[in-house]
């Protein structure tokens, strides 16, 4: 039996291989090495939740009607009986209450959308804090960044499809944001909505964007993202024998294929569990879209919340004297919308996208980096990361200010005043504290390398001196603590050469030097072999 099965399997494989030469590819992929660490699976969460989104999304498209034609509801939901609504909303109710499993599928789809965006952000944070974006991976950082932006587009367009009050309010805000752009804003808004808001073609347009354009782009970019991962090979955490020129890990087959394949079902299972237990986006509570009502607790999904927060944070009058809305030559310039909802996200995302290049200017390093940094060994980068997260979280909290105020019995106004100051002070404070913590941890590492681990064992010498016995580190342990690079601030050539002629490109070099000083002026260097030898000598 076993022999016959083997023969059949071999025969099939051979049949396919003779016609496609796939054997070579399988061999190549199966032997591809990957380093092992749980944090390398964060991107996989995003990938798998995207697969869940595709699967559940196909189910939903079978029942959703992307139309803004008005119908009168006649279905099982008592609180909607006889209410006028668009076909989009009616079909959402239909799939939720009349299609078997429809509500579960909707909830799986929505929960995995939240998970998709959250996993992307977490994955980006891992890549950032470990320095995995350095050469040669800058371009893949940009691909990933674009995927993140596309995930926001996918999420927002999907959130708006049911044509309920909550998402309609969100679209109204987006319309306002379009209109705040000087000169082209109004045209852009008319172009997107096909006339005056809300118009009658928005839902069909969003539908095409949501089920075809954005997911198509995401699929292509995921392919590119993974191709580049294969091409660059995976990064690895520092450890015994690991360098920028090798990869220490296990082959893809069989361990990782089993782990990764199983992990898909873990992700799907947890999403299904959460979706079965917790309501998400109960559109039947919000009702069909109508421009007049806005209920308390009107917020976008978490990934757009920071824009809402920025809008809530922005004062209408600066220091109560400078108006943020101007009438110029008969046109209105709404700085109170333009700054928080267009300029601020633009700068924020621009900074995130360009960060690998900014850091490359500061280090001046042109080598390939395949060993990751421990976050403590890049104190300024880690500080910038924590400051950026703090900035973002403040915007998210301001976006939820009414929920926070109500939950903790605080004053909504005081919260907003606190965040208006906090948005400037707290990121700076977070940067400073984080950098200090990194330095502290680096000093602790130096101490460990030089003097070993405390054993708690006290011995008394013959001459009466008490001393604690320190146990030296193993070679592997020491490798992790000393293998980071000691980067000094950039040295640049002088402005004038010996004949007194001004050098071209000096200003750019000078900028890079200043940047470099911010990064590396103050640093804790790793223990050198000489220092170690001296410390060991003085111990004995």
């Amino acid at each position: 039996m076993g022999a016959r099965l083997d023969a059949a399997a071999a025969g099939t494989a051979n049949y396919v291989d003779e016609r496609t030469s796939i054997g070579g590819f399988v061999k190549f992929f199966a032997r591809k090495l990957f380093p092992d660490h749980w944090s390398f699976m964060l991107g996989e969460i995003a990938l798998y939740s995207f697969v869940v989104l595709l699967l559940s999304g196909v189910f939903l498209t079978a029942f959703f009607v992307p139309s803004m034609t008005i119908v009168t509801y006649d279905g099982p939901l008592a609180t909607m009986q006889g209410v006028e609504m668009s076909e989009a909303f009616a079909s959402t109710l239909h799939m939720s209450f009349e299609v078997p499993g429809g509500l579960l599928m909707r909830q799986i789809h929505h929960w995995s959308a939240l998970l998709f965006t959250a996993a992307i952000v977490t994955h980006m944070a891992r890549v950032f804090f470990t320095g995995a974006f350095r050469k040669p991976r800058e371009l893949n950082w940009l691909v990933g960044f674009t995927l993140m932006i596309l995930s926001l587009a996918a999420g927002f367009s999907g959130y708006s499809l049911p044509d309920d009050v909550l998402s309609g309010n969100g679209l109204r805000i987006i319309e306002g944001v379009f209109r705040s752009i000087p000169i082209v804003g109004e045209y852009a808004s008319y172009w997107v909505f096909g006339g005056e808001f809300p118009g009658e073609i928005l839902i069909p347009r969003l539908f095409t964007m949501h089920i075809l354009l954005v997911p198509g782009l995401i699929l292509v970019l995921i392919a590119l993202h993974l191709f580049l991962v294969f091409l660059h090979k995976h990064t690895q955490y520092p450890g015994g024998g690991r360098t920028h020129k090798n990869v220490v890990g296990l082959p893809l087959f069989p361990v990782y294929t089993a782990k990764a394949g199983g992990f898909f079902f873990v992700v799907f299972g947890i999403v299904a569990l959460v979706a079965a237990v917790f309501t998400i986006n109960p559109v039947w509570n919000y009702g069909p879209y109508d421009p007049s009502p806005v209920s308390a607790g009107t917020q976008p999904d978490w990934y757009i919340l920071f824009v809402d927060g920025a809008l809530r944070l922005m004062p209408g009058w600066l220091f109560d004297i400078i108006p943020m809305e101007w009438e110029l030559w008969g046109y209105t310039l709404s700085l109170n919308i333009l700054i928080p909802a267009v300029i601020l996200p633009g700068l924020f995302f621009g900074f995130v996208a360009l960060y690998p290049f900014i850091e490359a200017w500061a280090t001046g390093d042109r080598g390939e980096k395949h060993v990751l940094d421990r976050p403590r060994n890049a104190p300024v980068r880690t500080g910038i990361g924590v400051a950026t997260i703090t900035f973002y979280v403040i915007l998210v909290m301001e976006g939820s200010n009414d929920i926070i105020a109500n939950l903790f019995h605080l004053s909504l106004n005081d919260l907003t005043y606190f965040f208006r100051i906090g948005i400037f002070v707290l990121p700076a404070l977070a940067f400073w504290i984080t950098r200090r913590l990194c330095f502290g941890l680096q000093r602790k590492d130096r101490e460990l390398v030089l003097h070993g681990k405390e054993t708690g064992r006290i011995v008394r010498h013959e001459h009466g001196e008490y001393q604690e016995v320190h146990e030296p580190l193993t070679d592997d342990e020491r490798w992790i603590l000393v293998s980071y690079e000691d980067i000094a601030p950039l040295e640049i050539e002088p402005e004038f050469n010996d004949r007194g002629v001004r050098r071209k490109g000096y200003r750019w070099d000078r900028f890079k030097q200043q940047l470099s000083r911010i990064y590396f002026e103050k640093r804790i260097s790793p223990v050198t072999p000489e220092e170690l030898a001296e410390a060991q000598h003085s111990h004995h």
Binding site: D36, H37, W38, S39, F40, M41, L42, E44, I45, A78, T79, M80, G82, V83, S96, F97, Q107, W111, L114, L115, A118, V165, L166, K259, F263, V266, V267, I270, V271, V274, V277, F278, T279, I280, N281, P282, N285, G287, D290, S292, P293, S295, A296, G297, Q299, D301, W302, Y303, L305, G399, S400, N401, I403, A405, N406, H409, S411, L412, N413, D414
Partner: protein, 261 residues
């Protein structure tokens, strides 16, 4: 003794017993209901006097002995009506425990009889909205779909889409309506307590108010989608997405990533 024992096994005995029991139950019910209606009829006379005593002991320190209020401390109660008293005292908001942005609901400090007496006293000071009848607030008689539309246009901007509550300015808030009795919801609309505007019968008809109550009561059934996370919208959902969904999955990556050693 023998006669009774014989009759116990008579064929008609069960029927007789059931009839007797029914007579007993309806008799008691009738007695109780006539007693209470008799009470209701006589409230104004005795109870206003009792209410005045209660008022002097519990309310007058802020509202004044003549209930005309104190500037900056407490409003005049002349003309607020019995409905206002039944709401404020019946939900525990009054007497107020401490000054703050707004009086929170708390454990009721008076029995329903005492509340009625206080209401009767305040109602005697000047004409105002009366306590609604049981029929006026019966959710069974309301139309929840119409209530949904009225709720969305009139109530949801403060109380949230399904009455889960929301924040107002300066620490004030619109409370959750899920624990509030239909009578108190009706009275709140009628009298506009604290930050709430008055929805008189011209704004929202009595039928409309009953429809709103029907919509709020329909929320008692919970959400068809499962636990509703407070029904306060996407913020709670986002937080659960991060903490529960992503949290569980990251925990499993640590488990999967761990080497078996």
């Amino acid at each position: 003794m023998n006669a009774l024992a014989r009759h116990r096994y008579h064929r008609a005995a069960p029927v007789v017993l059931v009839l007797l029991l029914l007579a007993l139950v309806t008799g008691i019910a009738a007695a109780v209901s006539t007693a209470s209606s008799a009470d209701a009829a006589t409230t104004t006379a005795d109870d206003a006097a009792e209410g005045e005593k209660l008022f002097a002991a519990n309310c007058a320190s802020c509202h004044g002995l003549d209930a005309t209020g104190t500037d900056g401390v407490a409003p005049s109660l002349v003309g607020v009506g019995a409905a206002a008293v039944d709401f404020q005292v019946g939900t525990g908001r009054m007497p107020m425990q401490a000054s703050g942005p707004q009086a929170p609901a708390k454990r009721t400090q008076f029995s329903q009889e005492e509340i009625s007496q206080l209401a009767a006293f305040v109602a005697s000071l000047g004409a105002g909205p009366a306590i609604p009848t049981a029929e006026q607030v019966d959710p069974e008689l309301g139309d929840a779909a119409n209530g949904m539309e009225l709720f969305r246009t009139n109530c949801a901007m403060c109380h949230g889409s399904v009455g889960g509550g929301g924040a107002l300015t300066q620490g004030k808030f619109a409370p959750s309506l899920w624990e509030t009795t239909p009578t108190h919801i009706y009275e709140a609309m009628l009298t506009g307590p604290q930050s709430m505007p008055v929805f008189n019968d011209a704004n929202i008809t009595p039928e409309g108010k009953r429809n709103i109550i029907a919509y709020i009561e329909a929320q008692d059934a919970g959400s068809p989608g499962g636990l509703r996370l407070g029904a306060i919208g996407p913020v709670a959902e986002g937080m659960w997405g991060w903490l529960v969904a992503l949290g569980l999955i990251i925990a499993s990556t640590v488990w999967i990533g761990a080497r078996s050693s």
